[in-house]
Amino acid sequence: MTFSPEFEQRFTEMLTHYPSKRSVLVPTLLYAQDEVGYLSDEAITEIAQRLQLTELDVRNVISYYSMLTTKPRGKYNVQVCTNIACILRGADDLWEHCQKKFGLRHKQTTPDGQFSIEEVECIGACSWAPAMQVNYDFHENLTKDKFDTILDGYKKKA
């Protein structure tokens, strides 16, 4: 299993930051997932070996964190916040709109593997609600029209 040179460089450097090897686990899993698309069996085996942990240990940690996934998902993961500040400004309509637009439900992926949608909790954009993240990019003060325009932009890139 090979990761990118940037991944390796970061990994080597991070190991020097802590008195225990295991401490790099959570950020390393997320960076690995960003490269592979999800935490594949292979990636899990590799990371467990490098950190001298059991695979079970690693899987236990994965299952705790909401951003980590062992299932493939879309190249673009559309995450709509449906927490209170967003709900007060129309996030439920937006989420409904998002589901209809893609014909998908929570955590489902389009057949071509390009988009998946997810209902998420507060992403720290409450004063600019309603908000969403597509992968790591924030999109704020959304309306249905603005949502469509943004998604069309991603579709062109897809």
């Binding site: 225990s20 236990n60 705790y64 964190y65 003060n141």
Partner: protein
């Protein structure tokens, strides 16, 4: 990224470099950056701690614990390594301020971590940033690298012969990890399960060593206190509630945004003047004063001073500075339901009262809002929430229970309006979506 706002009543201290390009180290230096750390270097730990005590600074992460006192709890004679841990997990619904600090002024956070380090004789600090904030993690990595390159961090900081290291760390999505001991578990590469207290982190924290954990904004306030004087900071606020803080105005206001206002500022003024009032000229139904875990205030309860003691007197908490305004057209049962959806999702599952309590409350509220409620549910919701209070392993249980109790007691009439199979009278459209959960 996120838009910045301004209002004449603001006193910009922590936010004074917002929008000034201060993520760049040269720009930061030109704006008085790293002067406070150099001023603190020759000071004794006690002198630094006394300054912070004088400033009246209280934790901006939620509990409002006096920061100087927290720093003084670290045992001076311990032979162990000591650590500073900056809590940038920012996940309390309604809160979006640490994000702005990390984006616009990352060096002030590094400088704050250094000052805390000098105050407790620590030689390293970690800045934990939630996984969703990837762009901020990139900004922070660069800021740290630049500070090392200038000799502000490392083996010989500012040529003083003293050593101090700062590292960044990333999360991967979990509200519970914001709780201090769970954050330490997460940084150690484990599931974010809280630890039993005592011992407190000041004595046994990261890798078993004494650790000071503070919120991003708390630490970013420290350089201003050291450089501009503790008394000046204290005088902005009210007695025992020093300084200014970032308030995140959201929900039904005309001008939502993050405003830096003195502690003790009137909540009513904050909503009607700073926030520009309620859209459509509607009336206020309720206000969440300090993030989703704080008890809601009714429209009659908002004539209060926004400092820790003022909000406590009104039966709620200043919390994390997230002020969520709710107008008269909102269904409070539905609001309670969305709050509980969050806590049910985020409960780490470690202790039973929290895991089961949030789950049952969510199920009951879902059914109730869809019109499947019976009269005794109302008492049950209150009873369940009250029995979670103080009985969970960490305060997440309280965080779920407190807003629920406040809503079911202050807005009982709205619960009664949903009875006898009536779908939500305030939101007939929304409630239809919930119909599949009806179990009767």
């Amino acid at each position: 990224m996120a838009d910045l706002v301004s209002h004449p009543d603001e006193i910009k201290v922590v936010s004074k470099r917002f929008g000034q390009g201060a993520a760049d180290i040269d720009r930061y230096l030109a704006l008085d950056g790293y002067k406070a750390a150099q001023k603190a270097l020759p000071m004794t730990p006690d002198a630094i701690i006394n300054e912070v005590k004088t400033s009246g600074l209280r934790g901006r992460g939620g509990a409002g614990f006096p920061t100087g006192m927290k720093w003084s709890f670290v045992p001076k004679d311990s032979p162990k390594q000591k650590y500073i841990l900056c809590n940038g997990d920012e996940s309390e619904p309604g809160t979006c301020k640490d994000r702005l600090i990390l984006e616009h002024d990352p060096h002030s956070v590094i400088e704050g971590v250094m000052i805390a380090g000098l105050a407790v004789n620590a030689e390293s600090g970690y800045i934990y940033i939630r996984g969703e904030y990837r762009y901020l993690s990139i900004i922070m990595q660069k800021a740290i690298k630049d500070a090392y390159a200038r000799g502000f961090l490392g083996k010989n900081i500012f040529g003083s012969g003293k050593k101090f290291d700062v590292y960044w760390h990333g999360g991967a999505g979990a509200y519970e990890v914001g709780e201090e001991s769970a954050l330490m578990e997460s940084l150690e590469g484990k599931r974010g399960i809280p630890r039993i207290k005592p011992p407190f982190p000041a004595v046994v924290g990261l890798w078993g060593s004494p650790t000071v954990i503070n919120n991003v904004e708390t630490l970013a306030s420290a350089p201003h206190i050291i450089l501009d004087g503790a008394q000046k900071f204290a005088d902005y606020g009210t007695p025992k509630n020093g300084g200014v803080r970032l308030f995140c105005l959201s929900g039904h206001v005309n001008k939502p945004g993050v405003y830096e206002l003195p502690l003790g500022y009137s909540l009513k003024k904050m909503i009607y003047e700073v926030g520009g009032g309620i859209p459509g000229g509607k009336k206020i139904k309720a206000v969440v004063p300090g993030g989703s875990s704080t008890p809601v205030l009714t429209a009659d309860e908002i004539d209060i001073a926004m400092d820790f003691d003022g909000v406590a007197k009104a039966g709620s908490m200043l919390g994390s500075g997230g002020v969520v305004v709710i107008d008269e057209s909102t269904c409070m049962v539905r609001f309670a339901q969305y709050i509980m959806k969050f806590y049910q999702h985020e409960s780490c599952g470690w202790c039973i009262p929290c895991r089961e309590g949030t789950d049952w409350l969510k199920k009951t509220l879902d059914r109730f809002h869809a019109g499947g409620g019976v009269k005794k549910d109302i008492n049950n919701i209150q009873y369940l929430a009250e029995n979670m209070m103080g009985r969970t392993f960490c305060p997440l249980g309280d965080a779920a229970a407190m807003p629920t109790i406040s809503i079911v007691t202050k807005f009982r009439k709205e619960f009664e309006d949903h009875l006898e199979g009536r779908p939500c009278p305030y939101d007939p459209v929304g409630s239809v979506r919930l119909l599949p959960v009806l179990s009767h």
